[in-house]
Symmetry: C2
């Protein structure tokens, strides 16, 4: 399935900057960055659980915000991109 992850991590202190880097690093292990704070990940339900667990463990729930949008298996018609950075075919890219 395609899961879109968006995040706002508070970077007012060095600990926040570190959390931001760690969040991006974990997301990179599961998918592709399509915007600064937006990743698209092709995952199965086990991977999704791992990903939620890892990210929840990193963020400060008082200061940071994470959102997961599950677009399901038939997601290609549900995603529209306009502007710079062309849309990437995630499955072609991930499983080349």
């Amino acid at each position: 399935m395609l899961v879109v992850i968006t995040y706002d991590v508070s970077t007012i202190d060095p600990a926040g900057i570190k959390r931001l880097r760690r969040v991006a690093k974990v997301c990179q292990d599961y998918g592709l960055r399509v915007q600064n704070s937006v990743f698209e990940c092709i995952v199965n339900s086990t991977e999704l659980k791992q990903l939620k667990y890892k990210l929840t463990d990193i963020i400060n729930e008082e200061e940071d915000s994470l959102r997961f949008y599950n677009l399901g298996e038939n997601y290609k018609s549900k995603v529209v991109h306009i502007g710079t950075k062309d849309s990437v075919d995630l499955e072609d890219t991930l499983f080349m």
Copy 2:
């Protein structure tokens, strides 16, 4: 339907800062900001077309990026929020 809009607008110059403000303003007319560059909009297909048209008209397609994710009508189970800013029930909020 629920449409999630995410954007990266290049703010290296004053024109970019102006575009960023205009993009946010248009999105606010159609939905709720859930993160800095993420809006959730409950729209019908006519409103979605208008929204795409207005945003495409504002951005610089060489520098900025817009993405639309269509979560459909039955979106409540497809959105997970973790951390600060509790998830908002958009329909309750918009149609109070």
